[in-house]
């Protein structure tokens, strides 16, 4: 159809979202703020319960609800203990908060909506296609509008999760209500029940098990969204999985994933217990019910005591945003550890790159040391430059380009012919370097017919590792500082046309009003700088198995003077 103009769907949608963002900002802010404080409260409440007490309590409840069976209580005990043992307890609590919040809101919206669709075919005809849409549209698509509406953090995460998790709640409620036998509805009518009485006394109790099955699905779907939600700053186990994927850290990815699986199984079993036949009580003996109540009270009591006795950190709160690239994990951890040593209360929020810039622009994040300029992040900088402050480079001599192992003969992009199956192994689609890589491929005639494969930074590193070990050809989109240059013998391909950018620097950017709000912290950010070698040494430590925090502390210890200079 060469003559038909393209329908400008994309711009309509963008404009629609923009319109909503500006016109409903008051509402969104209110929701963001109240949502955030409710969820902070919930997470704090959950974390306040001492971990051993919570594990013991949940195990006891598992025992009380599954009389004469040992599998489930044992699983609860061992599973939770394992999560705690892996230092994932507070992540687990954050994830639980997200899941509870998303599920509760889905229930609160979904059940009434399901009732309405069951009773009104007209509403059903409108709602059903919307539900299909919500469920089949990939969850990532909601992330940017979610950030535009609610900023970063757990609130947009909950928003995106609800969109994904709500449909089964509506559908199953609708189904449950419509499945109530006509004869029973007729019986209720024949005694003169009002619509409301019929609903409360007949339909909902009868639909109960179907509704509970819907709730179970909803909870599971909310749980499946935690990884996606972590891309926009929702804390928890999802964040661990995401950053492990970005770093190709198989071990850590699995451990975090395992935490999610354990959580899913425990939630699933507990919610399935609510599913009972008529006349069958959830917990048969009254003493068991009292015991469960008592256990719950003890847990809450433990939380209250703990919260009352533990002191709150009194430092200044600052929020550093970063992208989970190896280089930025290193720099942000070093900076954060250093700030902590100087009494700041630092939150580190790993984000998707585009989301990071967006959240600096709307002031959700105070600062970041992740901006590769003038080339790699040019597009983002151009877009947000009026809404952020650029404080300048914190590291010079950064570089991006096509990287090949030393053993390959080729030295220049212009000399590439048919190496590596004419494939360049790239990183995340949409990353700055991918855009320049694409530009490069378009401007070198010899690269016609070549492929730019997009994957993730971690997958790129894994592919490189595999090729290197077997001495295969490989061309990757690389950047330095990066630990791969310490680990393997690699070289940049020359770039006679300069399309991959010349030398770059990594820059510090802050939100617009930081200087006014917190000049002392802004000054530290402005002064923060180190070298490529510094960064690579931290990166290599992490690559060799140290946690980012350990590596950062180690580096700080041996570079006391440099670190102190940031505060002068």
């Amino acid at each position: 159809m060469p003559n038909l103009p393209k329908v400008p769907l994309e711009s309509w949608i963008s404009e629609g979202v923009n319109w909503l963002t500006t016109h409903l900002s008051g509402l969104f802010n209110l929701m963001q703020r109240s949502g955030q404080s409710i969820m902070d409260g919930l997470t704090n409440g959950l974390t306040a319960i001492p971990m051993p007490l919570m594990i013991a309590g949940l195990t006891v409840i598992a025992i009380l609800t599954t009389p004469k069976k040992y599998g489930f209580p044992l699983f609860t005990l061992v599973g939770l203990a394992l999560i705690a043992n892996q230092n994932l307890w507070s992540d687990l609590m954050s994830t639980v908060t997200l899941v509870i919040m998303a599920s509760v809101i889905s229930l609160v919206i979904g059940i009434p909506l399901g009732i309405i669709t069951a009773k009104s075919p007209k509403t059903a005809a409108i709602v059903k296609p919307i539900l299909d849409f919500m469920q089949t549209m990939p969850g990532f698509v909601y992330l940017i509008p979610a950030v535009a509406f609610f900023g970063i953090g757990v609130v947009p995460g909950v928003f995106a999760s609800i969109i994904f998790a709500l449909p089964p709640m509506v559908r199953m409620t609708d189904l449950g209500i419509r499945q109530v036998p006509v004869a029973l509805v007729e019986a209720a009518d024949s005694f003169g029940s009002t619509t409301w009485q019929k609903l409360i006394k007949l339909e909902l109790p009868n639909a109960r098990n179907t509704i509970l099955a819907g709730a179970n699905q909803t909870i599971m779907l909310a749980l499946s969204m935690v990884v996606t939600a972590s891309m926009i700053g929702a804390p928890g186990l999802g964040r661990g999985v995401l950053s492990a994927v970005q770093r190709a850290d198989v071990g850590s990815g699995f451990v975090n994933g395992l935490g999610l699986v354990i959580l899913a199984i425990i939630i699933d079993r507990f919610t399935q217990k609510l599913n009972t036949k008529p006349g069958q009580k959830l917990v048969t003996r009254p003493w068991r019910r009292w015991a469960i109540l008592a256990t719950a009270l003890i847990m809450v009591g433990g939380g209250v005591v703990n919260a009352a006795t533990s002191q709150k950190s009194s430092g200044q709160k600052v929020n550093l945003g970063y992208v989970s690239w190896d280089s930025e994990v290193a720099s942000t951890n070093v900076l954060a550890e250093s700030l902590r040593q100087h009494g700041y209360d630092v939150t580190m929020t790993p984000l998707d790159n585009a989301v990071l810039w967006q959240s600096l622009a709307n002031g959700q994040v105070d600062a970041s040391v992740c901006a590769w300029l003038p080339f790699t992040h040019k597009a983002l900088y151009d877009r947000y430059k009026n809404d952020i402050t650029l404080l300048g480079p914190n590291l010079h001599g950064a570089k991006t380009g096509f990287v090949v192992p030393d053993y390959m003969k080729v030295n220049s992009i212009a000399d590439l012919t048919n190496e590596a199956n004419k494939t360049i192994t790239g990183i995340e689609p949409g990353a700055g370097e991918m855009i320049t890589a694409q530009k490069t491929m378009d401007s070198y005639a010899n690269l016609q017919g070549w492929n730019l494969l997009s994957a993730s930074s971690g997958a790129m590193a894994t592919a490189l590792d595999k090729a290197y070990k077997t001495k295969q050809d490989i061309v990757v989109t690389g950047w330095s500082p990066h630990w791969m240059f310490s680990k393997y013998k690699l070289k940049y391909l020359q770039d006679p046309k300069g399309t991959m950018g010349k030398g770059e620097s990594i820059n510090t950017i802050t939100r617009k009003n930081l200087k006014k709000d917190n000049p002392k912290f802004e000054k530290v950010m402005d002064k923060f700088n180190w070298t490529k070698e510094d960064m690579e040494s931290v990166m290599l430590d992490i690559q060799n198995g140290a946690t980012p925090k350990q590596a950062a502390t180690k580096w700080l210890k041996s570079h006391q003077k440099l670190a102190d200079s940031w505060y002068k």
């Binding site: 029973l184 007729e186 019986a187 009518d189 005694f191 003169g192 009002t194």
Partner: protein
């Protein structure tokens, strides 16, 4: 005044009731109407009047509109046309709220598959009607327990319906309907799901209940025997239209049309017909006045071999055969000594109960009323004839 009065009540299901109505008026068949208009005739132009305290049975084949008719009475189904009066009030004019009141106070329904709420105990089921009226817990418990007690199910009150047999469940269904103390009970094939033995028991219980509390009961059944057993009046429907209303006897003895005739073909008449309907006129001789010669003369005239002997008050004394009369004339003895014992039955004794009596008897059986007057006699032949009617019908069909 009639308790329930129905005038020209019509229900057409579907989107084009007007077109369908036009076609029914032209006596088009139900199938044709569905095909042309997509609408189904539920019931058409029903007129009937139901008296206070009677059991009114509605009969008909599957799809004849029985359930539709009974649901029009409490407006679970809204009529397309026509009027409905209960206690003289036009229910079809009532608004939603008034209708709720009617359902709560005046009529309760009992369902074929019991319609008990599976998530409620028997007691909770039984108190449902009071609960939604906002009766306080203590009061409604008391009344529900009383109703369950009458149904002899009080000890099961905390069980759930699935734990009970069908018969027990339907007793609960009935108890639940009675807890509201309604004037009218609507029973849609209430006993059809029960096995024959339990069904018979339930029918008797219903009759007993009726004798005690005098509800107006509208009872739907497929089963003519059930209808004849419990019904004061029976209405027979076909394809949504009324064929005949009458007592069981009237319908059996004077079927209004061929359809009704074929419909009643399958019935076990011996359980329905009474002495009154099969008796033949009693030929009597007043032995206080008549001598043997007069009696014999009468027998000769009527071409019978015996007469029912009565006294001056026309009270039945026994049977006088021609043999005994001849003997009395020869021996010059009074006729009173010649009269034989004669078995008697009441007017409403069922044929099934007459059969063994007549089988053993040497004489015909006398049908007497409360004044000992002989209203008729039954001979073997008339019993056989009444029952033979059935067989005749069946071979016709």
């Amino acid at each position: 005044m009639a308790k329930v009065e129905i005038k020209h009540l019509t229900k057409i299901f579907g989107k084009r009731p007007k077109a369908a109505l036009k076609m029914v008026k032209q006596h088009k068949s139900k199938d044709e109407i569905v095909e042309k208009t997509g609408s189904t005739v539920g019931v058409y132009d029903i007129n009937m009047s139901i008296d206070e305290g009677e059991i009114f049975v509605i009969m008909g084949l599957s799809g004849s509109g029985k359930s539709t008719l009974i649901r029009l009475l409490n407006r679970l189904i809204e009529p397309t046309q026509g009027q409905l009066f209960i206690d003289g009030e036009e229910i079809t004019k009532f608004n939603k709220k008034q209708m709720l009141e009617i359902r709560r106070q005046k009529m309760s329904m009992v369902f074929q598959n019991f319609g008990l709420f599976p998530h409620r105990t028997l007691l909770e089921n039984t108190e449902y009607g009071l609960e939604i009226q906002g009766v306080n817990k203590e009061e409604r418990r008391k009344r529900a327990e009383h109703a369950l007690d009458n149904a002899k199910l009080l000890s099961y009150k905390d069980q759930y319906p699935s734990q009970l047999s069908g018969g027990m469940q339907q007793r609960v269904g009935l108890a639940r309907a009675l807890t509201n103390d309604p004037d009218i009970l609507l029973m849609d094939e209430a006993f059809s799901a029960l096995d024959p033995l339990v069904r018979g028991e339930m029918q008797d219980e219903l009759l007993e209940l009726q004798a005690n509390v005098q509800k107006t009961i509208i009872f739907i059944t497929h089963d003519l025997n059930e209808a004849l057993h419990i019904g004061d009046h029976i209405a027979i429907m076909k394809d949504g239209e009324l064929q005949q209303i009458g007592t069981g006897e009237e319908i059996l003895t004077h079927p209004a049309n061929e359809y009704v005739k074929s419909f009643i073909g399958g019935v076990d008449r011996s359980k329905v017909l009474t002495a009154e309907s099969i008796m033949i006129p009693a030929l009597t001789t007043n032995i206080d006045v008549d001598g043997p010669t007069v009696a014999l003369r009468k027998m000769a005239d009527e071409e019978v071999s015996g007469l029912v002997a009565v006294n001056r008050k026309r009270e039945m004394l026994g049977y006088l055969t021609s043999d005994e009369a001849v003997k009395a004339r020869r021996n010059q003895t009074p006729l009173s000594q010649a009269v034989m014992q004669m078995p008697t039955v009441d007017l409403d004794t069922l044929v099934v109960d007459i059969m063994p009596i007549i089988y053993d008897a040497q004489t015909p059986v006398a049908v007497v009323d409360g004044n000992k007057h002989a209203r008729g006699v039954i001979i073997r032949g008339s019993v056989l004839e009444a029952l033979a009617d059935t067989e005749g019908e069946e071979t016709d069909a």
